[in-house]
Amino acid sequence: MTDTKGSREAVVIERTFDVPVDVIWQMWTDPERFKEWFGPTDATIPVAKMDVRVGGRRLVCMEAQTPSGLRSMWFAGEYLQVVPNQLLVYTEFISDENGNAMPPSEMGMSEGHPTTTEVRVELEPLDGVTKMVMTHVGIPSDSPGAAGWTMALDKLAARVATGSRR
């Protein structure tokens, strides 16, 4: 796959943390640790279930107080790659409380696909500190992968740009 850095379709963030690599691995894979940092400031994470192995499922609930009351949002996904202290890749999509993907039925789309995103976390120990590179990319379910999706969008974007100049 090509380097997605600088792409408008992928978030790539590199950070260095002043702790050993296994501590950062726990931040991502231990539900109690994960709950402490993942949610926005005004939200809590009452549920985080993580079966951290290839093919294992994950389920996270985010709860936030809104003017119309307490609002819960569920996100489910699957672990695609698990190499302890090195590499973690998982998918994520909006789901119900049982982890079933929510079809965008409110749009009246009978053949609607759920939107899936993929999160990739790469860890590298550097002299007692840890370099982390996180990549987050959106993948529609009919695409073979992020690369194909990005190419399709780029093509479309180029055509839109041409069209709007008319």
Binding site: E9, R15, F17, M27, W37, P104, D142, L153, V160, G163
Partner: protein, 120 residues
């Protein structure tokens, strides 16, 4: 607009684009407006099937229908598409804030560990 509303709308746009026929329709409309008949031509689809795709695109704000008597040509509205293309821009601050919190949490954990060492 709250981050979650923007995220939700983005998810909806993604869902609409998660179909190669709809992307092809948009690509055709990017070259100029067209009628449903014209849009159906390159596809091995019935007119009602193409109409259905156009309805979905219209509901998502990606396509607008004109009114010229009997004639209702379709045109592209690139705004929601721009949002998808700028997808990363919307998520970046959310992740940056998360990692700031991770860092704060690590600092808290570090202090707790030091405190418990002193207690020993």
């Amino acid at each position: 607009m709250t981050a979650s509303t923007a995220e939700q709308r983005l998810s909806e746009t993604f869902a609409v684009l998660a179909n190669s026929t709809r992307r092809a329709i948009l690509a055709r409309l990017a070259q100029g407006e067209a009628t449903v008949n014209q849009l159906a031509e390159p596809f091995a689809l019935t007119l009602p099937a193409v109409s259905k795709h156009i309805k979905v695109l219209a509901r998502a704000g990606l396509v607008v229908r004109g009114h010229r008597g009997q004639y209702r040509p379709c045109a592209i509205d690139a705004m929601p598409l721009e949002e998808v293309l700028n997808w990363a821009e919307q998520y970046r601050p959310i992740w940056e804030a998360r990692f700031d919190r991770m860092n704060d949490y690590l600092t808290r954990l570090g202090r707790q560990q030091e405190a418990s060492k002193k207690d020993d």
